[in-house]
C-alpha cells in the first residue's frame, strides 16, 4: 500500500488548487459553527460565572418606602437565602465640560463590609467609607465616557439639593451590564450613569432613614422565583410596591439574555447553511474528481487491488481533502470564536472571560463535513470500484447528446457553435448545472441576509425615531406630577411645544396569559409621539379602551373587541377590565397605550403626568439644559438625536463585525463553487478546448466556452440567490424576533446589488485563475492521447 499512499500524496499535491478551494469551503462551514457555538458557550459560561461570583440577586422589588424591619420578615420566606435592602434614586448631574443634563442612578451600598447581594467588582480606587457622605463609586462605562477618575468631582441635584460628589472608585456590577436610562432603547453612557453611594448618605439625602425603597433577594437553588414573588408582593403591597420581578425580567439581564438568545439563533441557522453548502460542494467536487480518475482505477484493479482497497484509497483522498478543511476551520473558528467572545465581553464589560471551547463543537463540525464529503464521493467511488478493469481503463464512450427542439428553433439556429456547446453542456447535465447555480445562489443569499441587517436597522430608525418620535427631547419626572408641571416646563426657555405622557407599570392579563409591562397615556391627537399602525397610518386615540402593539396582543392572544384585565402596580394599584380598541405594529418593545384622560380616571387621579415630550428651539438649548438641571421634579432627559446616534453606533459596531464575517464567508463560498466547477470542467474537457485552440480559436474564444458556461450558471444563480437571500432574511428576522425587537424584513435593491457584486467579484477571481490555465493549455499532448 505504500506506493498507493505515495500516489495519494502526489495526487493531492497535483490537485492542490482544488484541494485548497474545497478546503476553504469546508473550513468556512466548520469555522462558522465553531465560532458561533464556542462564542455562545463562552458568553453563557462567563455570564453565569460573573453572576455567581458577584452574587447577582434572583428577585428584585421596588417600593415607595418600607421599614427596614421588614427585611427580617422577607428573609424568613421559604426559599430565600439572603436579602439586601437598598435605596435607589435618580439624580440630575452636572458634569464639567458636558452641557446636557446627565441622569444618575444612585444605588446604595453598605459603608462597611460587602453587600450580601449584587456585589461590585472594583476596577480602581476604593469603595465608599463611613462618615464621608459625598463619596461615590462610578460604573466604569460612565466614568470612561466622561473621563472621570478617583479624586474627580461633579455636581448632583439630589432631592432638590445641589451636592458636590467626589469619585473614590470605579466599579462594575452584574446588575448593570446593560445600564439604560428611563425610556432609553440603548445604553447611553454619556447621558446616563449608575453610581453607588453609602447607604447612610443616601438615606439622609432622601429622608429614608430606617427605610428602604428597593430589595433584592438571593434564592436557594431549588426554589421557584414565581412562588416567592407572590408572597413578597403580598408582603410589600402596602408599601407602594410596583410588583417584584424575577432575575429573568431584570432589565440588564433581560437584554443580556436577549443578546445571547440572538447569538444562539445565529449559531444554529448560519452554520447549518454553511455546513450544508460546504457539504454540497464537497459532494459535487468529490464525485466529479473521482470520475476523472477512472482509468487509474482500472489500472489498480488490473494489478489486483480489490474493490475494497480501491474504495479505501479514494476514501482516504476524500478524508485528506476534507481534513485540510476541517483543521483550517477549527483553527479559524477557534480564533474567530475568541475574537467574537472578546468583542461581546468588551461590549458587556465582563470583568472575566471564560473561553473553553467544548471539544464536542469541533467534533460536530468535523463529523458533518466529513460525512457529507464521503457521501458525495461514495457514489463515484462505488461506481469506479465496481467497473470491470478493462472497461475502466478504456476511455468512456463519447457522451451522448441529443438535439433539442430549441436548437431547431429560429433562435437556436441563429446561435454560434461555441454558444451551442455551452447550452448543450448545461442541458446534458441539468442537475450538475443546477447545483452549481444553487451554490452561487447560496453565496449570494448569505450575503443578502447579512447585509439586510443594515436596511432593517435603517428602517427601525426611520420609523421609530423619525416618524413616531417627533419630539426633540423627552423629560421624565420624579413620580407623578400635576398639570402644573406641564405649564412650568412650557414656560422654560426654548420650549416650542410640550405634550404630556403618563406611564405606569402594570400587569396585563387575558385568561391564563399575562405580561408584566406598562401602560402609557397619551393625548388624543399626539403631535410629538405618534402611533403608527403596520400600514403606516396614524392611529387615532379613542377616548376609552386599550391600544395594544400587535406583539403584545399575540402574547396575550387577544384581538380588537376582547378585554384585558389590567392591574396597575403603582399608585392606588387599580384593577380593571379594559377592552382592546385598536392594534398597531411596532418594531420595539410591547407597548400598550390609552387616552390620558381615561388613564387618569383608571388611576383615580386628577390630571397627572410622568413624562413630557418637547419640541425645542435648538438655539436655546444651553439655557434649557441649565433650567432642566435645576428642576428637582426632572428625573430624566432623553435627547432624540443622542439616542439615534447611540443606537447607530452600537448597532454599527456589532453589524460591521457580523457583516464582514459573512461577507468573507460568502466570498469563500462563491469562489469555491466557481473555482471547483470550472477546474473540474477544465480537466474533463481540456482535450476539447485544446482541439479548438488547434483549429484556430484564440484562448479568449475557448475561455468563452468554459467560462461562458460558468457565467451563465452564475447568471442564473444571482437572481436565485437574491430570492433565497430574501427567504433567509425572513427566516432570520423571524428567528430573531424577541420581545424587545422585531427586525423588519426590509431589503433594498442596493443590498441585492451589493451582494451580487461581491459574489461576482469572488467568482471573477476564480474565473481569472482558471483562465490563466486555459492560456497555457498543452496543445500537443491532447492530440496524441485519447483521454
Amino acid at each position: 500500500m505504500r506506493a498507493l499512499n505515495l500516489k495519494l500524496i502526489r495526487n493531492l499535491w497535483k490537485l492542490k488548487g482544488q484541494v485548497l478551494a474545497i478546503a476553504v469551503v469546508i473550513a468556512s462551514g466548520v469555522a462558522v459553527l465553531v465560532m458561533s457555538l464556542s462564542a455562545l458557550q463562552a458568553l453563557q459560561q462567563t455570564a453565569t460565572a460573573y453572576y455567581e461570583r458577584q452574587r447577582f440577586a434572583d428577585v428584585f422589588a421596588t417600593v415607595k418606602r418600607a421599614p427596614r424591619r421588614l427585611v427580617n420578615q422577607i428573609s424568613t420566606l421559604p426559599g430565600v437565602r439572603s436579602v439586601e435592602d437598598r435605596i435607589k434614586q435618580m439624580a440630575t448631574l452636572s458634569i464639567e465640560g458636558f452641557e446636557e443634563p446627565v441622569i444618575g442612578q444612585l444605588v446604595s451600598i453598605p459603608e462597611q463590609g460587602e453587600p450580601l447581594l449584587n456585589n461590585l467588582v472594583l476596577r480602581s480606587g476604593r469603595l465608599v467609607s463611613l462618615g464621608h457622605p459625598d463619596e461615590v463609586v462610578l460604573n466604569e462605562p460612565f466614568a470612561e465616557a466622561h473621563d472621570l477618575q478617583p479624586g474627580d468631582q461633579f455636581k448632583a441635584l439630589m432631592n432638590g439639593h445641589q451636592r458636590s460628589l467626589t469619585v473614590v472608585g470605579i466599579a462594575l456590577s452584574p446588575e448593570f451590564i446593560y445600564s439604560m436610562g428611563p425610556g432609553a432603547l440603548m445604553p447611553d453612557d454619556k447621558r446616563f450613569g449608575v453610581m453607588w453611594m453609602g447607604r447612610e448618605a443616601l438615606a439622609a439625602a432622601y429622608d429614608l432613614e430606617g427605610a428602604f425603597n428597593e430589595v433584592s433577594l438571593g434564592l436557594l437553588h431549588d426554589s421557584s422565583p414565581e412562588q416567592i414573588i407572590v408572597k413578597l408582593d403580598r408582603l410589600l403591597e402596602s408599601y407602594g410596591s410596583h410588583g417584584a420581578i424575577a432575575r429573568k425580567n431584570q432589565i440588564s439581564n433581560w437584554f443580556l439574555m436577549n443578546e445571547i438568545e440572538q447569538l444562539k439563533t445565529m449559531s444554529t441557522i448560519l452554520p447549518t447553511i454553511f455546513l450544508a453548502v460546504a457539504a454540497f460542494l464537497g459532494n459535487m467536487v468529490m464525485s466529479r474528481l473521482i470520475a476523472t480518475d477512472r482509468s487509474e482505477i482500472g489500472l489498480m484493479k488490473a494489478f489486483g487491488y480489490s474493490n475494497w482497497q480501491v474504495a479505501w484509497h479514494y476514501t482516504k483522498m476524500v478524508m485528506a481533502m476534507c481534513g485540510v478543511g476541517i483543521v483550517l476551520g477549527w483553527l479559524l473558528g477557534a480564533w474567530l470564536g475568541r475574537v467574537n467572545t472578546e468583542i461581546y465581553a468588551d461590549l458587556f464589560r465582563f470583568p472575566l472571560l471564560i473561553f473553553r471551547p467544548d471539544p464536542g463543537v469541533f467534533a460536530i463540525g468535523a463529523a458533518v463535513s466529513l460525512i457529507a464529503a464521503l457521501a458525495g464521493s461514495l457514489g463515484a467511488v462505488r461506481h469506479a470500484a465496481t467497473l470491470p478493469p478493462a472497461e475502466a481503463m478504456s476511455p468512456p464512450a463519447p457522451p451522448m447528446y441529443r438535439s433539442s427542439r430549441f436548437s431547431q428553433s429560429r433562435f437556436g439556429l441563429w446561435l454560434d457553435q461555441p454558444t451551442r456547446i455551452i447550452l448543450r453542456q448545461i442541458m446534458r447535465s441539468p442537475w450538475r448545472s443546477l447545483l452549481t447555480s444553487i451554490g452561487i445562489a447560496l453565496s449570494v443569499s448569505v450575503m443578502v441576509m447579512a447585509l439586510q441587517w443594515i436596511d432593517a436597522i435603517e428602517e427601525i430608525i426611520e420609523v421609530q425615531f423619525h416618524q413616531t418620535q417627533r419630539q426633540d427631547m423627552s423629560v421624565g419626572l420624579v413620580e407623578s406630577q400635576s398639570d402644573q408641571t406641564l405649564r412650568e416646563i412650557r414656560r422654560l426657555p426654548g420650549v416650542l411645544a410640550a405634550e404630556p405622557m403618563r406611564s405606569k407599570s402594570a400587569d396585563l392579563k387575558a385568561g391564563h396569559l399575562s405580561h408584566r409591562g406598562g401602560i402609557e397615556g397619551v393625548t388624543d391627537n399626539p403631535k410629538l409621539q405618534r402611533i403608527y399602525d403596520a400600514q403606516g397610518d396614524v392611529v387615532s386615540i379613542p377616548p376609552e379602551g386599550l391600544i395594544l402593539s400587535t406583539r403584545l396582543a399575540e402574547k396575550l392572544d387577544v384581538q380588537i373587541g376582547d378585554s384585558v384585565w389590567v392591574e396597575v402596580l403603582e399608585g392606588k394599584q387599580p384593577k380593571a377590565l379594559i377592552p382592546v380598541v385598536s392594534l398597531f405594529e411596532t418594531y420595539m418593545g410591547m407597548p400598550a397605550y390609552m387616552h390620558i384622560q381615561a388613564f387618569n380616571r383608571l388611576m383615580g387621579e386628577s390630571a397627572s403626568l410622568e413624562a413630557i415630550n418637547l419640541l425645542v428651539d435648538k438655539n436655546q438649548l444651553s439655557q434649557l439644559y441649565r433650567s432642566l438641571k435645576s428642576l428637582p421634579k426632572v428625573s430624566a432627559v432623553t435627547l432624540k438625536d443622542a439616542a439615534v446616534e447611540e443606537f447607530n453606533e452600537t448597532m454599527a459596531e456589532m453589524l460591521m463585525i457580523y457583516i464582514s464575517f459573512f461577507a468573507a464567508f460568502a466570498c469563500a463560498l462563491g469562489f469555491g463553487v466557481v473555482y471547483n466547477s470550472t477546474r473540474i470542467a477544465l480537466s474533463e474537457r481540456g482535450r476539447e478546448l485544446a482541439t479548438l485552440r488547434v483549429l484556430g480559436f484564440h484562448s479568449g474564444e475557448i475561455s468563452y466556452i468554459l467560462l461562458g458556461e460558468a457565467a451563465l450558471l452564475i447568471l442564473i444563480g444571482l437572481p436565485l440567490g437574491c430570492l433565497m437571500g430574501h427567504g433567509l432574511g425572513w427566516l432570520m428576522t423571524n428567528a430573531m424576533n424577541t420581545e424587545l425587537f422585531r427586525i423588519p424584513l426590509v431589503i433594498k435593491a442596493a443590498t441585492d446589488a451589493t451582494a451580487v457584486l461581491v459574489t461576482l467579484g469572488a467568482t471573477a477571481f476564480s474565473a481569472a485563475l482558471v483562465r490563466r490555465r486555459l492560456d497555457h493549455l498543452d496543445l500537443i499532448a491532447v492530440l496524441k492521447t485519447r483521454e
Binding site: 464512450a397 463519447p398 457522451p399 451522448m400 447528446y401 441529443r402 438535439s403 454560434d416 457553435q417 461555441p418 451551442r420 456547446i421 448543450r424 453542456q425 446534458r428 482535450r687 476539447e688 482541439t691 479548438l692 485552440r693 488547434v694 483549429l695 484556430g696 480559436f697 484564440h698 484562448s699 474564444e701 496543445l779 500537443i780 491532447v782 492530440l783 496524441k784 485519447r786
Partner: protein
Amino acid sequence: MSDSGSSSIPHITLQGQGLTKVYHTGSVDVHALRGVDLELREGELVVLLGPSGSGKSTLLNILGGLDSPSSGEVTFRDMRISADDESTLTRYRRDHVGFVFQFYNLIPSLTARENVSLVTEIAKRAMDPAEALALVGLAERLDHFPAQLSGGEQQRVAIARAIAKRPDILLCDEPTGALDSQTGILVLEAIERVNQEMGTTTAVITHNSVIGEMADRVLHFANGHVADYQENSLRKGAHELSW
C-alpha cells in the same frame, strides 16, 4: 537532409529550414528533430513515414503552428511563422491550416454539421458545412452527434471540419491510426478527394508504409531527421490500397 526535388514543380507552400527541436525533460535533453529541411509544394500530397518516436509528429506540430522549433525557421509562402507569438500562430492555424487527428477530436456536444460550422464560422472563405460533409461522403449524416457515428464517420467529419475553411495546407496525424483497414481506406479516399478536387497541399503522417503509395512524395523519418526520400511517379488511388 534536403529533398532535392526537381525545379519544374509549382510554388512552395510551406518550407522548413534547419529545424531542430530539443525537449528538456529533467536532466535529459531529448532531440526530437535534428536539422530538418523540407518543402511542401502547392497541391501535392506528401506522406511522412516513420516509426513512433522518429520525430514526425514533432515536425507536423511545428509546421502546423502548434509548436515552435528550437532553431531553424518555417516559412508559409512569404511569412515566417516560427515566431513565438501566440496570436500569429493562432491566426496562421485559423486561416491556413486544417488539422486531422488520430482520435478525431470532435466536439461531442455538436452534430456533424455543427462541428464543421465551428470552423466555418471563424474562417474567411469557408464553404458550406453541408458541402464539406458531402465531399467526405457524409451528406446523409449531417445532424448526427459524434456518439451516433462510427469511428470512420467521425474521422471523416474531422476531415470535413479541416477542409471546410479551404485551408492552404491539410495536416493529418495518423488519420487511420484508430481505424480498421476498410474504414481507414474510406478516410484516405476522403483525404485524396480533397487533395485532388480542391488542390489542397496535404501532409499525412503515418507509420503504415502502404499509405505512402498514394502520395506524390514519401519522406522516411528516423531519429529526428529525414533518412530517406522517395518520389512516386504514379500515385495509387486510395481504393487500391490494402493492409
